[in-house]
Amino acid sequence: MSTYLQLVVLFGSLSLMSIGGGNAVLPEMHLRAVNQDHWVNNGQFADLFSISQTAPGPSILIVGMIGYAAGLPVGGVAGGILGGVIATAAMVIPAASLVYGITLFWQKAEQSKWRIAVEKGFAPLTVGLILASSLVMSRSADHDWKAYALTAVCTLIFVRSKINPLFIVAIAGVIGYFGIV
C-alpha cells in the first residue's frame, strides 16, 4: 500500500478517535508511526512532539511532521511536504465534518432549553477547566519558581493593563533567551 494512502487511513481514523483533543491519540500514533510503520524512531518521535508543542497554532501539528517523515523516503523534501499536508488534512477533515454537522444542529436549537442551560451552566465549569489546563501547561513546561514568578507578573499586566499581550509574550521570550528563567 502506498505510504500516502497509509497516512490517510491512519490519521483519518485517529481523527474521529481524538476525543478530548489531539493528544488523546498520541499513544496510538506512537505505536503506528514508530513500531509498525517505522516512519520515525523513538527518539525522533519525542523530538518531533516537543518541536510541535512549541510551534504556534493547533496542538495536532505533530501529525504534519510525522507525515513529512513518512514522505521523505518516497520523494525527498517535496514528498515530505506532500506527506505532511496529506496527513494534516486526514487528521482535520473527518472530525471537522462531524463538528460542522453538530454546529448546524446547535444553531437551529437557539430557543431550546438545552441550549440555554448549556450556555449558562457550562460557563463556570469551563473557566475551572481552563484554570486546570494552565496548571497542567506550567507543569509540563517544567517551570521552576522563577518561571512561576514571571507568570504571576505577566498575569497582573494582562489583567490590569491594555498593553498588547503579544508584546509581553515577546519580552518573556527574550528573558527566556538570556536564560534568566
Binding site: D47, G57, P58, F122, G128, T155, I171, F178
Partner: protein, 192 residues
C-alpha cells in the same frame, strides 16, 4: 435570550474569517491559543457572546478533533456556513503547518532545531499567564454566586489537581451545571 453583544448582521467576508484565524494561530506563539481566541473572537470582533464562547469551548473539547480546529469550525459555521468553515480552518492551519514543516525540514537536515528552547521557555510562562488572565476576566462575569463558584472549583480540582480525564469530570460536573442552569418558570425563579 442570550446576553452579551449579538453578532453584527452584516456578513463577514471569507477572507476576514481566514485572516482572523491566521492571526489567532500566529499570536499563540508559546501557547495560550484559547486565550487568544477569546481575546479576538469575543473582545475584539464581538462575533460571540462570553457564555456562548465558553460553552462552545467545552463542547469543542468533548467532540473529537483538536479543540482549536473545532472552535474554528463552530465560528465558521455560525458566520458563513460551509464556506466559512473551510476559510476558518485553512486560516488557522495553513501558516502553522508551513512553520512546522519548515522545522521538520531543519530537524531532518541538521538533526536538531537551532536553540529556540530558552525563548520558548520564557514565552510559555507568559502564555500561561495569558490563560490565567482569561480565567480572571471571564470568572468576574460568570462566577457570581455560590453555585457557579462551586462548579468552577469542582471542575478545577478534578481535572487539574486530581488529573481526572475530561469525560470523567464532565460526567459529574456537567449534570450539576445543567440542573442549576435549566430555565425555570418565573414562579420558581425566586426559589432558585
Amino acid at each position: 435570550m442570550s446576553e452579551g453583544p449579538l453578532p453584527p448582521t452584516e456578513r463577514v467576508s471569507l477572507a476576514t474569517l481566514a485572516l482572523t484565524f491566521n492571526h489567532i494561530a500566529l499570536a499563540s506563539f508559546g501557547g495560550g491559543l484559547s486565550a487568544w481566541s477569546r481575546e479576538i473572537l469575543v473582545v475584539e470582533k464581538k462575533w460571540m457572546g462570553e457564555n456562548e464562547f465558553l460553552s462552545a469551548m467545552t463542547m469543542c473539547r468533548i467532540l473529537p478533533g483538536a479543540n482549536q480546529v473545532n472552535m474554528a469550525v463552530f465560528v465558521g459555521t455560525k458566520m458563513r456556513g460551509l464556506p466559512g468553515v473551510v476559510a476558518s480552518v485553512v486560516g488557522l492551519c495553513f501558516m502553522p503547518l508551513a512553520i512546522v514543516l519548515f522545522m521538520a525540514w531543519l530537524y531532518f537536515q541538521f538533526k536538531e532545531v537551532p536553540a529556540v528552547k530558552g525563548v520558548l521557555h520564557g514565552a510559555s510562562a507568559a502564555a500561561v499567564a495569558l490563560t490565567v488572565a482569561m480565567v480572571i476576566k471571564t470568572g468576574q462575569k460568570c462566577l457570581t454566586g455560590v453555585i457557579p463558584v462551586a462548579l468552577f472549583g469542582l471542575a478545577f480540582v478534578l481535572n487539574g489537581v486530581l488529573r481526572w480525564p475530561l469525560l470523567g469530570v464532565l460526567g459529574i460536573v456537567a449534570p450539576l451545571a445543567l440542573i442549576w442552569a435549566w430555565p425555570r418558570g418565573s414562579k420558581e425563579e425566586a426559589a432558585a
